[in-house]
């Protein structure tokens, strides 16, 4: 078999043909649904609606978000919620909605939900599963295609690569762009002291750039995945604490579930529930 054919076979086995436990997808479903509620809850609440269209949009959002978190008709709800979130994003991009909806955190949340809807995210930890059990029918098998999860992993890799590419210039590497960002965020606040250390900003800029390029590839490799996940989580935790990017940070952290071995997540939950390990 030629190297190209071997590579194609590996991609095929990793992506479109891969199957595994549906529990990580279920955890992502609950996490992303909760983030959507927190991000848009106070903007789409029906009492704020100025038009009937806004009222329907708000109502659809809350019904779909609730069904997403609870896992009721889960895949449809997740796809619907992703559609609503992406609609808000594109409305803003076309200057028809709130400018804040056109930001990267809204896109990654909507895209994450749409890709999650390609998984069997309702088979675990869901009302769908509970209803099947309550009805006395066989509960859905907690096993399904991982295609959506693999695409989420690719989305994270693309995000890291392209954001690193955007930072690959002297203005960023020299610390100037980070200093400008910190001027906006920290002026008049306690952390303004960081602006007095340009060498620290330059060092931090180089570290961020190297880490983002590395993450773009490391999260997709078995060899580096564990280190990449730890590094990435620390990176996003520091973003959360140091910059006003909390929705983006927690969304990406939840999407990291797509990088984990589904079988390991399944076994971990079994252990936490005190269930015996399979022989």
């Amino acid at each position: 078999m030629s190297p190209l054919a071997t590579f194609a076979e590996r991609i095929d086995a990793w992506g479109p043909r891969a199957t595994g436990s549906t529990r990580p997808a279920a955890l992502m479903r609950i996490g992303l649904g909760g983030i959507a509620l927190i991000r848009f809850g106070d903007e789409l609440a029906p009492y704020l609606s100025g038009t009937v269209a806004e009222l329907f949009l708000g109502a659809a959002f809350f019904v779909l978000a609730a069904c997403t978190v609870l896992g009721l008709r889960a895949r449809v709800a997740v796809a619907g919620l992703g559609g609503v979130v992406l609609s808000l994003y594109f409305l803003a991009r076309m200057e028809l909605g709130d400018p804040g909806w056109g930001h990267h955190h809204v896109y990654i949340l909507g895209a994450g939900l749409m890709l999650l809807s390609l998984t069997e995210c309702g088979r675990s930890l869901s009302l769908d599963r509970y209803r099947a059990l309550a009805a006395g029918t066989a509960p859905p098998c907690e096993h399904g295609l991982l295609l959506g999860q693999r695409l989420i992993a690719l989305q994270l890799a693309a995000l890291y690569f392209w954001t690193a590419a955007d930072k690959t210039d002297w203005a960023f590497i020299s610390g100037q762009r980070l200093e400008q960002t910190f001027t906006w965020v920290y002026s008049g606040r306690a952390l303004e002291i960081l602006l007095a250390a340009p060498w620290l900003l330059a060092t931090a800029s180089v570290v961020v750039l190297v880490v983002e390029y590395w993450l773009a590839f490391a999260i997709l490799t078995r060899r580096w995945r564990r280190a990449a996940i730890c590094t990435g989580l620390m990176l996003h935790a520091s973003f959360y604490l140091l910059l006003p990017v909390n929705t983006y940070s927690v969304t990406v952290m939840v999407l990291y579930l797509a990088l984990l071995d589904p079988a390991a997540v399944h076994r971990f939950i079994d252990r936490m529930l005190g269930q015996p390990e399979p022989a």
């Binding site: 479109p16 594109f90 098998c141 890799a157």
Partner: protein, 157 residues
């Protein structure tokens, strides 16, 4: 026996299963290509589209902000006071979010007055406001000296 096993066991189900795998491959390839390459038109070739997300987050935050000192001059030109950019705006700190809707954000190097409207409003007759420092741009800091920041009445519209 799972549904998948059952499908494998029945020869008649084989074409349907093959079709399903083919669909999965096509969907995966199309979405993977979109995810990986869709930022390229904007980020590589400068062809921006609202439909294609570019991963340039936070790249514009801090641009258009001055860093330096605003000086108040009396009629003789003597410096009688110095203000930080925040003091010139009359605020304690910049808002948490919505950088692009910030009133003090300079769109061009010629509209520093946007940042100093509060100081300009407080300026006494015959006094002048100057600025010495730099302004953030996408390419780094740009040195900036402005002798008379405040526009003449009616020029600021």
């Amino acid at each position: 026996m799972s549904l998948n096993d059952a499908a494998t066991a029945r020869p008649s189900a084989r074409p349907a299963r093959d079709t399903r795998i083919l669909v999965h491959r096509v969907v995966f390839a199309a979405l993977a290509a979109f995810i990986l390459l869709s930022p390229a038109p904007g980020q590589v070739f400068g062809k921006h589209s609202p439909w294609l997300r570019e991963w340039v987050m936070y790249s514009g935050v801090g641009t258009g902000l001055p860093q330096g000192a605003f000086h108040i001059h009396d009629a003789a030109g003597t410096i009688i006071g110095t203000l930080t950019p925040l003091e010139a705006m009359g605020i304690a700190h910049y808002p948490n979010t919505e950088h692009y809707r910030f009133e003090g954000w300079m769109r061009t190097t010629g509209d520093l007055w946007r940042h100093a409207t509060a100081a300009c409003d407080r300026l006494e007759n015959g006094h002048r406001l100057s600025f010495a420092g730099r302004v953030g741009t996408r390419d780094g800091w740009l040195d900036m000296q402005v002798e008379d920041v405040c526009p003449a009445t009616g020029d600021a519209s």
